[in-house]
Symmetry: C2
Subunit: 228 residues, 2 copies
DNA sequence: CTAATAGCCTGCGAAAATGCAGGCTTTTTT
DNA sequence: AAAAAAGCCTGCATTTTCGCAGGCTATTAG
């Protein structure tokens, strides 16, 4: 039985929770694995049971942009009815367990469970709002502000509960750059500067954020907020 | 009776279509009017019956970014249950008629009409995908490409049917700049250059796109497509 | 008709971002 | 343990973007 209380599927009635539980499969993906690739057909929806995923989109030249970060309880795959090709991919950032439910079953579940459909709708609505605020930020911010935005976005998405402000980020410079639409060198420069100010620490490969409050203060003028 | 066949409300059964028809009000907003303002409470959802709307978000300094364009049949307001403050506003680009339905009524409609909820969910899902592809483009494109993206975004959103490739855009340079995260001068420069190439025409205040195909070709490497 | 205003275009210097290169450190492989 | 590879930092030259300023045009107001 699935232990994730926040999983959207939990909005179904008991009969359907069991039926979806039977219909799903839940493979474990190693770090760096594609959950689905750009240009592939979407045959159903993915629910993250455990782990971290980035949603990406690339141009033909191979340049890649991370368009969304997703964690436990999040939904992937833009559940489509009918087959849609679709120019977005998803890659695990660490070992992750991800449930898959096919479109036909999902559609039946939507028709039989209004609350489930409603909560999925709300999920997309919230993600859209987050994406739009991101659009604003990426459109108006300079490089340093974007790097701070990226760090806070990672923190917001992957800080579990309120266990202090300690967030560890285990991505390389290139991957951080792709979240905010810049390049590895710029990220390096800004991180160095933030380190000198004591706003971040680096331990081994990971970046730690001991003072999230001050970081947020830095980009306050964009009305960036943890909860959207 | 509402004449918009694509309106999402049409997914409800007849009883509910009538009930929502009674519950809604449908004011006509003049050009340049706020439908709702940034920071206001969201008390329900808006359905565009006729007209064009931009969804905006600003920073404290007053710089404004257009995060989404919406036209006939589109939904605004991120229907929320409960009251949520929310840092996004909407402004008409021309005289527009927009229906409003309050959250309580909407919630009942969602619970009673699975197909309605499902289609609203799909609407948000599609808009999210569009927003994410926009994130990619704004992250990877240079200025000229962004301007072309902006023109095509306007064309896609407001080209009604397939009446040739004639699209008229009646925004000033500043407003175009805010769609793509740049400034009026840059837009001016790119438009001049595109005009010299014969890819756009300006007649009075409006920009015409006589050759959408070639414009799309210009940014093909970003896999930008009319239908997402 | 004239004046005033708003929008538009474009040159130019300043600022920011980019991307290469070289040196360093860390991790992985052999 | 040594070698190879990958990642990281930073200086520098180049390119791009920014934003002011001035002149032009079109629209609106008087």
């Amino acid at each position: 039985m699935c232990p994730i209380a926040t999983c959207l599927v939990k909005q179904c009635n008991h009969t359907w929770i069991n039926r979806l539980s039977d219909a799903k499969n839940s493979p474990i993906y190693p770090k760096g694995q594609f959950v689905f690739m750009e240009g592939s057909l979407v045959l159903g929806a993915y629910f993250i049971l455990k782990g971290k995923v980035k949603v990406i989109s690339s141009n033909v030249g191979g340049k890649e942009q991370t368009v969304r970060l997703a964690g436990e309880g999040h939904m992937l795959g833009h559940s489509a009815i009918g087959l849609e090709k679709y120019s977005i991919g998803a890659v695990t950032l660490e070992e992750s367990q991800i449930c898959f439910i096919d479109n036909a079953t999902l559609y039946e579940a939507f028709m039989a469970n209004p609350k489930f459909t409603f909560e999925v709708m709300r999920f997309y609505s919230r993600e859209l709002r987050k994406s739009e605020i991101r659009t604003k930020c990426l459109g108006l911010m300079n490089n340093e502000e974007k790097v701070i935005l990226g760090l806070l976005y990672l923190a917001d998405t992957y800080l579990l509960g309120s266990q202090g402000n300690q967030v560890e980020i285990d991505l390389n410079r290139q991957e951080i750059a792709q979240i905010i639409g810049t390049n590895a060198e710029q990220v390096s420069r800004v991180l160095t500067s933030l380190k000198k100010e004591g706003l971040i620490q680096t331990v081994d490969r990971t970046i730690q954020l001991p003072d999230i409050t001050t970081l947020k203060e830095r980009i306050r003028q964009y009305a960036y907020a943890t909860s959207y």
